[in-house]
């Protein structure tokens, strides 16, 4: 598989990198809290929780390195193989999950599905900023899915 590329303006890269720095420490906690871990078997539950926590920490590292390494204008993230691309896809999903839980948990699911239309000037600035970033991470994710499988979306 040829390498995959994600491009964004340098301004977007700067804003998303700053947001990642803020949200990454909490992403692991969100990931574990959201998961429905089966509790009947303590050993299984402990393994389950540790696996999710370790993965979330790895995803935070992956995103931080990828955005820090994206140079040029437009800034380009290069993913060299399918495994890297799939890991990056999951990491983008994790950060969107964390934003949903930590910044706009009060927004109903139905409204969040059309997040791009949620640019409401009555919302506090920080929330509008986080929503814009949430949408940007989503656009990067969609671009990556389309490169991996052009027919994945109907």
């Amino acid at each position: 598989m040829p390498e995959l590329r994600l491009s964004m303006t340098t301004e977007a890269r700067t804003v998303l990198t700053d947001l990642l720095r803020l949200i990454a420490p909490a992403a692991a906690r969100v990931s574990v809290n959201r998961a429905r871990v089966p509790e009947a078997d303590g050993e299984v539950a402990a393994f389950w929780t540790e696996t999710l926590k370790a993965q979330a920490e790895e995803e935070a590292r992956l995103l931080a390195v990828a955005f820090a390494s994206a140079k040029g204008n437009p800034a380009i993230i290069v993913l060299r193989n399918e495994a890297q691309a799939l890991a990056f896809l999951r990491a983008l999903s994790a950060v969107r999950m964390a934003l949903r839980d930590l910044v706009f948990a009060d927004i109903p699911d139905a409204e969040l599905e059309a997040a791009a239309e949620l640019d409401d000037e009555t919302l506090p600035t920080e929330k509008r900023h986080a929503l814009a970033c949430y949408t940007c991470f989503g656009l990067l994710q969609q671009s990556l899915v389309l490169q991996l499988d052009p027919e994945a979306f109907d």
Binding site: R34, T51, S93, R100, A152, F153, D154
Partner: protein, 95 residues
């Protein structure tokens, strides 16, 4: 004349009940895109894309879909892998 005491004969038979089957169920969420869910299903469940799309549509339209049924250990593994894709996966005993 005393009646003979008859000891009732009790036969017991042990039957091994089959282990219950477990369902891996994915619930809808407002965060993950449909195409992403298709990629996740193909990657984790190793199913053809058409089947992955059918399951994704079921999750999206009905709010949930059973994506795999079988023995418990494998179900746990698949549910964990789907959660690693940040999908809302749960385990249920198959009725």
């Amino acid at each position: 004349m005393a009646k003979p005491k008859i000891k009732p004969e009790i036969k017991t038979e042990s039957v091994v009940a089959p282990a219950p089957k477990w369902n891996v169920v994915v619930l809808n969420d407002p965060i993950n895109f449909t195409g992403y869910v298709v990629v996740a299903f193909v990657s984790v469940l190793r199913i053809p894309k058409a089947e992955a799309k059918r399951l994704m549509r079921q999750v999206h339209e009905e709010g949930r879909a059973t994506v795999w049924t079988g023995e418990r250990e494998r179900a746990e593994l698949l549910a964990l892998e789907l959660q690693q894709w940040h999908l809302n996966a749960i385990l249920e005993v198959d009725a």
